[in-house]
Structure formats: structure tokens, C-alpha cells
Symmetry: C2
Subunit: 312 residues, 2 copies
């Protein structure tokens, strides 16, 4: 559940007008490589047939994509040198203003539910409408809701399994200056697992049982950062749904899978890269992360080559 939008984006690499975007589009496209996925969202009468076909071409179930009177949600933004943060130029909610997500029976039974960044009251409502508690519920949010719907958001945390947010939001939500403190605060608020998206600095898992951290893929060219976080979430949840495993080991790999999808998403505007990947490319970048992060661990009882006399 999230948005389907027409984005107008300007980056140092160029510009696109009214490109297909929105959290649900990016999430579902990334997830579709791993698992069967459907979108719960709304578009206006102006939603283009070719955009519908693009998503359906990725086998995304659009039975939950409602069409309402009015225009599709529109966002326009700009990225300057700092590709980590977008400058919003204009937001037109349009049909999103009166959006009240209703669940088709097929969706009410979904074993994996992602509540993308949207008013937390809508996130609650979708969760309320599920016929049974999904195996995994994850959600995202943003600074706006932390500011204006904080209570509703705090009530959501114990209801979900996983919160996927960016580093600044994790700090804002808790008032902590440093990420590990912010993570500890969120876990104390009743959250089970926190996944932090750190843009060009990678991603991390914080849970009561373990921690995982990884760098981002060192891309020499980032064309359009829009949708990177939702593409990450789609790879993350798509991987978990595909393996049907929520163990620590699976979560670690899922974060790598999410990073793979995000790294491809930003290589071109909108879905221009993300929607056209091959199995080979996805596998290759997963292996690229293995290669990037690997180092020989300390063997069995063996330690580092430390000078014992001066080491203790």
C-alpha cells in the first residue's frame, strides 16, 4: 500500500516530466523480481494506459489500484549536488486527498504487507482491514508524519514487525543524536526490527537480537535517487516472501537484496532501469556486494597477530 504518482524530477543528470513514480510503483516493481505482488493505491482518470501496462508487464496485480475522479497524485522535485535529499518543488495530492484504502479479499489474506510512507492513520486502517495478521508487516514513514501525526505513528510501531526509515527520520523520531541511540530508542518503543536506509552510506538492521550493517554499492553515476528507499523495501520484502523465512540469516540477505534493487533503481530516471533488469544482473550485483564486503574472518581459536606482551 502506497502511492502511484506522476513525478517531475530534475537531477544533475537531466530531467523527466510526469514520469511514473510513487512508493507503490517502485516497491512493487522491485518486489516483482522475487515474488507475486499487488498494489493498493489510487490513481486519477489521467492515469496512462502505458503505465498500467508497464506494471502489469511485471506481473504486478493492479486489482487494488483504484481509479477515482480527478488527477493522479503529482510530485515535483529537484536534486542538487547532495543526491541524498530532494528539494520538493510542488506536491499536488489530487485523488490522494480522499484516498481511503479498501482491501480486496485477495489482498486481505496477503502474507506480507508493506505500508509505504503515507498518513499513519491510513497505515492503521489497512492493517485493521487484514483478514488475518500477515507473517510480516513492514512500514515506512517521513518527517511530515513524525511532525503532524506522531501519536498515530508511535501507536503503529508495536503493530508492525519492521520499520524501514532513513537515518534522519530515525533520529527525528527519537530525538537521538546518533543512529545507534536512535535505534535503541525505537526498539524500546515496542518496535521489533529497525531497518535504516542510509543512502550512499548503505543500510543497517537493528534488532534486540542482532545487528547488521553494510555499505552502499559504489556507483560512479547516480542519475535519479527518487524511489531508492521504496525499491530497497521491495527487494527486502520480495526476498523474504520468496524464501518464506524470517530468520536473522534471511533478514541479512534481504537487506543485501534490497540494496541491490536500490542501487539499480538510481542508475536511471524513474523505473527506466528498475523495471528492465535481468536475473543475471540482479545476481551479479548481489555477488558484487559479497565481493565488496568480504574479508577473511578470524579462524576457530585463532586471533589477530597481536603482540601479547604489549597487548594486555
Amino acid at each position: 500500500m502506497g502511492t502511484v504518482a506522476y513525478d517531475t524530477v530534475e537531477t544533475p543528470e537531466g530531467r523527466r516530466d510526469d514520469q511514473l513514480g510513487g512508493s507503490a510503483s517502485y516497491f512493487a516493481t522491485a518486489a516483482s523480481y522475487f515474488a507475486s505482488v499487488g498494489i493498493i493505491s489510487v490513481v486519477g482518470r489521467d492515469f496512462d494506459k502505458s503505465d498500467r501496462e508497464l506494471l502489469e508487464g511485471r506481473d504486478i496485480d493492479l486489482s487494488g489500484l483504484h481509479e477515482a475522479e480527478g488527477g493522479t497524485f503529482r510530485w515535483s522535485g529537484q536534486y542538487k549536488d547532495d543526491l541524498n535529499s530532494a528539494i520538493t518543488l510542488r506536491t499536488q495530492l489530487n485523488v490522494l486527498e480522499k484516498f481511503s484504502p479498501s482491501l480486496a479479499p485477495a489482498h486481505a489474506d496477503a502474507p506480507f504487507l508493506f505500508l509505504a510512507n503515507i498518513d499513519p492513520r491510513l497505515q492503521h486502517r489497512v492493517l485493521d482491514g487484514m483478514a488475518q495478521r500477515p507473517q510480516l508487516v513492514a512500514c515506512d514513514t517521513m518527517n511530515l508524519w513524525i511532525d503532524i501525526a506522531r501519536d498515530s505513528l508511535l501507536q503503529l510501531l508495536p503493530r508492525v514487525d519492521t520499520l524501514l526509515i532513513n537515518e534522519a527520520e530515525a533520529k527525528q523520531l527519537t530525538g537521538a543524536r546518533h543512529l545507534p541511540q536512535a535505534a535503541a530508542g525505537l526498539l524500546q518503543m515496542g518496535l521489533k526490527t529497525l531497518i535504516v536506509k542510509r543512502g550512499e552510506y548503505g543500510a543497517a538492521i537493528f534488532s534486540r537480537k542482532f545487528g547488521f550493517a553494510m555499505p552502499a554499492y559504489p556507483l560512479t553515476k547516480v542519475v535519479d535517487p527518487t524511489g531508492a528507499g521504496d525499491s530497497f523495501a521491495g527487494g527486502f520484502m520480495g526476498y523474504l516472501a520468496a524464501v518464506g523465512d524470517l530468520s536473522e540469516e534471511a533478514m541479512r540477505r534481504a537487506v543485501v537484496a534490497g540494496s541491490v534493487m536500490a542501487s539499480y533503481a538510481v542508475e536511471n530516471f524513474g523505473l527506466e532501469r528498475l523495471a528492465f533488469l535481468t536475473v543475471k544482473e540482479i545476481d551479479a550485483r548481489f555477488k558484487g556486494f559479497e565481493e565488496l564486503m568480504r574479508f577473511h574472518p578470524l579462524g576457530g581459536g585463532q586471533g589477530l597477530p597481536l603482540r601479547t606482551r604489549y597487548g594486555g
Copy 2:
């Protein structure tokens, strides 16, 4: 070769007046856990006997630590909420102003040489004075030298094996907006290996043959970031000297060893933590990084659980 200083430091966690610091002190202390190390630097007549004893207690060779008329180099700085960057309040060069490093014969044969952040002309001079080319020469620098001694610095790059700098400096030196571009630029300038220190975001290696990247250790409390980069360099070079191996595999582990030492250094003021570590603690944090970064790689011919029909 670097500085030995008295630092006055204020951080959100407290304050210390005239604590033993300087790049050479941090570097040598960190390296001393792995290998035999000596300092080439200068102090004033005010250099305290207890500080000399602290370094000698770690078996650091101080025969290259000259004592000159005047006061020891003094730096005073402050860290506010952003622990990644210090605000310099005062710098008193004192004896450093006329420092002209001269090498004792024992040091002229050193197989590993670290040229800490100092005027690049002094870095050249030390390198000129070596009896033979060391197996590994690494150097650091800072924004000041990039501004005022750029030519000398650029001439140094092809003379060293490894440049260890922070992310902002790598970008400043090349004018690139993003780290991978900056790294590519530096390798084109004749540098063999670039090690980038990213503070709370970890560290990375860029070379023509491979790349490595790792996150920082998720510390819940950072007391004093001063010396983190030099402690990193000390762990990095100390490890390489201990194993006597400059292969890609050794470099990857050396960056982890550097990260271990940096993560301990910042846990207390000055050398208060770094100089009093045990072998067990160092091994434990190395294993902590293994645990933090590990994920199951793709097996042999096996790929991710991708839906081949919709995967391209």
C-alpha cells in the same frame, strides 16, 4: 612521522585540558598492538615525563622524538552534536614551526612508513631520507594542505602506495561530488591505493584491482573523536607489518583492524582507552565486525530466488 601534541578538547561528553595527542601518538599507540613502531616527531621542553612513559610503556621507540627549545605543539578544539568534524579553537605550532624531521639510521631502514597529516614538503623530505624504499608508504593529509600546498601534495601521490584520507578531503582534492568519482580521479593521478575514512559511516578501499567497503562499529557512545583517523591508520599499518603481506586479502583485513582501533579510540578521551586495550578486546571487536557484516553468500552456481519468467 607526525605530530605529538597537547590537546584541549571539549565534546558533549566532557572536557580534557592538555591531554597527550597528535597524529604520531595515536598512530603509534594503535600500531604498537601489532608491530614494533617508532615515532619521528618533535616536542618542547614542557613535554611531560609521564607522557613519555605512557608511550614507552607501549614499547614505542621514541629515539626519533626530538626535544627542542620551546613548547610542545598545542591544539584546542570542540565537537558539538556533529562528532564527525571538530571546530578548531586554537592552534599553537610552537616547536612544530621549525620542525625538520631527521631520520636516525634505525628509522631510515623501516619497512613500513606512515607520513601522518603534516606539510607535504616535510612528507617528501622524510621519504627522501629513507635509506631504501620501504615496502609500504602511506600518507594522510588535510584540507589546509590541499588549499596551500596542492602541488607538493599532488607530487607526493605517485611516491606513496596508499593515501588514507577522509571523504570530504578526497572530494576536495579532486573536485568530484561523489566518493567513487573522487576515488577514480585519485587513482588517475598516480595513486595506487586509496583508503577512505568515513567516520561513523565506516571505511573503504579503492584500488585499480578491487574495492572494499565496510560500516563503522555501531557505538552507542562516542566520547572523543580526536585521533580516530590516526588510530585507524595505526591499526591498518600495524596489521600489515605484523603479517608482512600486502595482498588484497591482507589489505581488506587491515582496514577491519584499523576500524577496530578507531572504534576503541573514540570510546574515551585521548589515549585513555586506546593505550589500555587487551588482546582479548581487540580480537572480540574484530569478531564483532565479522558478526556485523556477515551474510550468506550465493552458493556455487546458485542464484537468488528470482522469478525467471518476470526477471528478464
